[in-house]
């Protein structure tokens, strides 16, 4: 706890004594002993940084020693990075005056949760996974179905599947080592990443795609096709976006 005995002043190094004195001068009487160590560490780091910077400036100016001007310059340059202080008061008063002049916007009648436009929210999915099963996720909400099947199910009946599709929640990169000799695989790149590539190859509507790390697989065995995701899924992707009746941009504010 915070009230463990402080080290007696005689046994601490001089720097720590200075720190203790500083705390005492500022009127701080209760503090954890680790605070001294933190202050020492900070001091050491800060002074070292400044002196190193000053050395660089002085060598740049082709001086033989580091003098006070170099130090001053070093401090000046660092102060904007480390010790940023809030904006000055008159600036704040100014922007406040500007902001406060616009009248409060009227509130539209209830149309669902009152949230800012989508791109200012954290509600968008940041990944998309598609399952290999027939079920198409008709996401009414914004939550995607994190299902993934390992294995290739393709429209070609001659291609053997790799076991039964197993449902796992895995990311788009599948690193599972599989013994692939003598098998042909169809790897289909998810269309959300290759949306611009339209392939003529039709696929069954429910085929979902898995991106397999090509290094695991001998190149002979792979036939890579890029296929458009079915209509349904693309319909889904637009339905994933929350519709606003009016302009998404409230930038006029």
């Amino acid at each position: 706890g915070a009230h463990t005995k402080m080290a007696s002043p005689k046994t601490v190094p001089k720097d720590a004594q200075v720190m203790m004195q500083i705390l005492k001068d500022m009127g701080i009487t209760e503090y954890e002993p680790r605070v001294i160590n933190q202050m020492l560490e900070f001091t050491y780091r800060y002074v070292t940084t400044i002196i190193e910077d000053a050395k660089i400036y002085s060598t740049h100016a082709k001086k033989s020693t580091v003098d006070a001007d170099d130090i001053r310059l070093a401090i000046q340059c660092r102060v904007d990075q480390s010790f940023i202080s809030p904006p000055p008061r008159d600036f704040l008063l100014d922007i406040a005056r500007q902001k406060n002049q616009t009248p409060l916007p009227l509130i539209k009648p209830y149309t669902g949760p009152r949230l800012p436009p989508d791109r200012y929210c954290l509600t968008a999915p940041n990944y998309r996974l598609k399952s290999l099963q027939k079920k198409v996720s008709s996401s009414a909400g914004r939550i995607t179905v994190p299902r993934l099947s390992v294995g290739a199910v393709s429209s070609r009946p001659s291609t053997p599947t790799l076991g039964t599709p197993s449902v796992q929640t895995v990311g788009t990169k599948v690193g599972t080592p599989v013994s692939l000799t003598g098998q042909r695989f169809t790897v289909q790149i998810p269309s959300s990443q290759a949306a611009s590539v339209k392939s003529a190859t039709p696929t069954t509507p429910t085929v979902q795609n898995v991106l397999i790390n090509p290094s695991l697989i001998g190149s002979k065995n792979i036939l890579i096709t890029t296929n458009m995701v079915s209509q349904n899924s693309s319909g889904d992707s637009t339905s994933l976006k929350r519709k606003h009746e009016d302009e998404d941009d409230y930038d006029a504010l």
């Binding site: 102060v79 008061r89 704040l92 009152r114 949230l115 800012p116 996401s139 939550i143 504010l253």
Partner: protein, 751 residues
């Protein structure tokens, strides 16, 4: 008009007057590090631009000043031909003059031309002082705020003789001690601001030793409640220290307000104008604002109760704006006695329906309360069906409410957070006391269900697809039973969470953190919906409006911001505090926001236009807690000095002081009907105060309302109804349930 001749020891300097002036002007906007600033009566550098004017006697000196001021004025208004003509005629042919003038003129930033007249008048007044201080007209900074920091600081370039500062100050001290008792208390208010300003001037002009000596001699004399500030000041000995310190810069630019009665003021003015060195008078005119009132001088205790803030007290006019502190009319909702679902809303003015029980919460009279704002003064969200159901529940619960009073104290239920390791930084309860949220120093927010009902989140999309949407209990079916739990953790912030606030409809939770953002979390899915970025510095407090939709946040950047959940930028910025905003609360009618700050003041802001309508001074330490009384008329505030102060919003006055706590008060809450005020503090106690009695005792006759002086009865002991100690758990939050049971929360710390 020219007592210059009588200024002691300066006769010799008059000869070199113009030259010194030029020196001054040239070096003024630059860093005064080369010592040319030391002008204590010597002809310092005759090497600089020599004025063609023959160094004459006093009259020439003044004319020179006037001419220079006029030239500046003309130059600024781009009347270059007139400038040429004037210069030629006045014989100021020297090119360097224009350069120095430009340097000084440019360094001063923007000032409107009208000031030249005031400049000229000041020249005539201050010419009585030593020649160095005749420079004040050019260097003085007026009411227009300068954006350049060096210009802001350059107002300190007024030079008196540094070694004489102590003499001036002691002179004033002797004078004040010699006046009548009744005036002495008022005039003693001058000591602190004068001391600080003189000290800062010495530091700015690099008179480090004199500054230290000055501080040592007079620092101990100041009032005890300024000791913290003085400690900070003590560490500032160099000019570079001043530059980064926003608080001190603000102190310098905002005028310290003093309230002095007319008689005392006359005394002071007469004394200072008699003397030849008007240093102190200059400082008073530049940096202090003396709010003169007619009437009896105030006593020491009255002054002490109102002082303590960074900028002195508040001017009376500030607190005269009309504030609509009444409550909004509750929509009349019929309580279905027979469980019939027919609800109707009566707008005000329509006759009430007789058959159902009336809403006892709504006001009885149909006339508009003159103190209440219009219903549509600010846009408010309309009531949804679920809100109406909530209101019905509310009314039912309130019928079972216990009436509290001095004879009938509430029971207190304390929720201790175990294993928080001092990391509990914020707590909030929902209004119906069903959920409890805690914000922690490890940047998580945890939500607990206080009732036996577990927390459930909405099912994922795939599962939602499978349920029967037509069934009656669809709202139950969308909830996921598998992951139901007593508590949920919300991760997302990247710094300690300093404040949490539930929305009134229990759909959202707000949390504000050291990472500068305020996050909105959904309590249906327990995920983060929005991150509101605006403060780039720790956000100390946030609070939802009592009607939802709006929320306010306040932080280290000294402003409070008003947001709406569907705007990614703030709607209002409340700027005016001199230091961090530590506490923000909405008024029950949602039209006003109260903010408490580290500058020891509390300000009340109007949501409609962002104006500050009240400033309350009196605390001697940072204000950490605020509570509005349920009827909207009063405000209670608690701070690090352990006192709870009570304020009358309508009149803008302090009406009560509750002493008893020994440490910072972080929690304040009024009971549901406003009869009891509960306060919780770091000293591990909860205290209950009789607020009905405290507010009844208010005497507001016209005089006090006009001058703002209330004599506070020292009745803290009578008002204290009970002190309840916890076992080494500081109290972080207090909440009265709808039935007036008091809930308290804090993190158990084992030492």
């Amino acid at each position: 008009m020219t007592p210059l001749l009588s200024a002691p020891g300066k006769m010799a300097a008059v000869q070199d007057g113009p030259m010194e002036l030029d020196t001054e002007k040239e070096t003024k906007p630059e860093i005064l590090s080369d010592g040319t600033s030391k002008l204590s009566g010597n002809a310092a550098s005759g090497t600089l631009s020599s004025s063609p004017l023959t160094a004459g006697g006093a009259p020439k000196q003044e004319d020179q000043q006037t001419l220079i001021a006029v030239l500046q004025f003309l130059r600024r208004n781009k009347l270059s031909e007139s400038v040429e003509i004037l210069r030629r005629e006045a014989g100021l042919e020297d090119q360097e003059d224009s350069q120095t003038l430009d340097g000084s003129g440019g360094g001063k930033g923007d000032r409107d031309g009208g000031e030249a007249n005031s400049l000229l008048s000041r020249v005539s007044i201050t010419s009585a002082a030593a020649p160095q201080s005749t420079l004040t007209p050019i260097t003085v900074k007026r009411a227009n705020e300068q954006l350049d920091v060096s210009v802001v600081l350059s107002a300190y370039s007024q030079q008196g003789d540094p070694s004489l500062y102590q003499v001036y100050y002691s002179g004033l001290k002797n004078f004040i001690e010699s006046v009548l008792d009744c005036h002495r208390a008022e005039l003693s208010q001058l000591f602190y601001p004068l001391f600080v300003h003189m000290y800062l001037e010495l530091v700015y002009n690099n008179h480090e030793n004199e500054a230290k000596a000055f501080f040592e001699k007079f620092g101990g004399d100041q009032e005890c409640y300024y000791q913290d500030d003085l400690r900070v000041l003590c560490g500032l000995t160099k000019k570079e220290h001043l530059k980064g310190n926003e608080v001190l810069l603000d102190f310098r630019t905002s005028r310290f307000v003093l309230r002095i009665s007319r008689d005392s003021y006359q005394l002071l003015k007469r004394h200072l104008q008699e003397r030849h060195n008007n240093q102190i008078w200059n400082i008073i005119q530049e940096h202090l604002y003396i709010d003169i009132f007619d009437g009896m001088p105030r006593s020491k205790s009255q002054i002490d109760s109102m002082s303590g803030s960074f900028a002195g007290e508040a001017r009376r006019e500030v607190n005269k704006v009309k504030v609509f502190h009444g409550l909004l009319k509750e929509p009349e909702i019929e309580v279905p006695l027979d469980d019939e679902e027919d609800e109707a809303e009566n707008e005000e003015g329509k006759p009430k329906k007789k058959k159902t029980k009336k809403d006892s919460m709504g006001s009885k009279s149909k006339k508009q309360d003159p103190n209440a704002p219009q219903q549509n003064r600010i846009p408010l969200p309309e009531l949804k069906d679920s809100d109406k159901l909530d209101k019905i529940m509310y009314m039912k619960e309130s019928t079972k409410r216990i009436r509290l009073g001095p004879e009938n104290l509430p029971s207190i239920c304390f929720y201790s957070f175990l294993n928080a390791y001092q990391g509990l930084t914020a707590v909030d309860f929902t209004d119906d006391s069903s959920l409890l949220a805690g914000g922690f120093a490890d940047s998580t927010v945890r939500i607990w269900s206080v009732t036996p009902k577990k927390l459930r989140k909405v099912k994922s999309a795939g599962e939602l697809n499978l349920i029967d949407k037509e069934s009656d209990d669809v709202l139950e079916r969308i909830m996921d039973e598998k992951t139901a739990s007593e508590s949920k953790i919300l991760c997302g912030h990247s710094g300690p969470v300093y404040s949490v606030s539930f929305s009134p409809d229990r759909n959202y939770l707000l949390s504000s953190s050291e990472d500068g953002t305020v996050r909105l979390w959904s309590l249906q899915t327990f995920t983060c919906l929005v991150g509101y970025k605006g403060h780039n510095y720790p956000v100390w407090d946030t609070h939802f409006s009592p009607f939802g939709y709006y929320f306010v946040s306040g932080g280290h950047d000294r402003v409070a911001r008003l947001w709406a959940t569907d705007h990614y930028q703030p709607l209002r910025i409340f700027a005016g505090h001199l230091a961090d905003v530590t506490c923000t609360r909405f008024h029950p009618n949602s039209n006003y926001v109260a903010t408490g700050s580290t500058d020891r003041t509390i300000r009340l802001w109007d949501v409609l236009n962002g104006n500050c309508v009240r400033i309350f001074t009196g605390h001697k330490g940072p204000v950490h807690s605020l509570a509005f009384s349920p009827n909207g008329k009063f405000l209670a505030s608690g701070s690090t000095d352990g006192r709870v102060l009570l304020w009358d919003i309508g009149h803008g006055l302090m009406i009560g002081e509750l002493k008893g706590h020994t440490d910072t008060i972080y929690a304040l809450k009024f009971s549901r009907d406003g009869e009891i005020l509960a306060s919780g503090s770091m000293d591990n106690t909860v205290r209950l105060w009789d607020s009905t009695k405290a507010f009844d005792d208010v005497e507001t006759d016209d005089f006090t309302a006009a001058t703002g002086h209330i004599h506070l009865p020292d009745n803290s002991q009578e008002l204290l109804l009970g002190t309840y100690h916890s076992k080494s758990t500081p109290v972080t939050h207090l909440h009265f349930t709808r039935r007036n049971l008091l809930l308290a929360a804090g993190g158990y710390s084992s030492q």
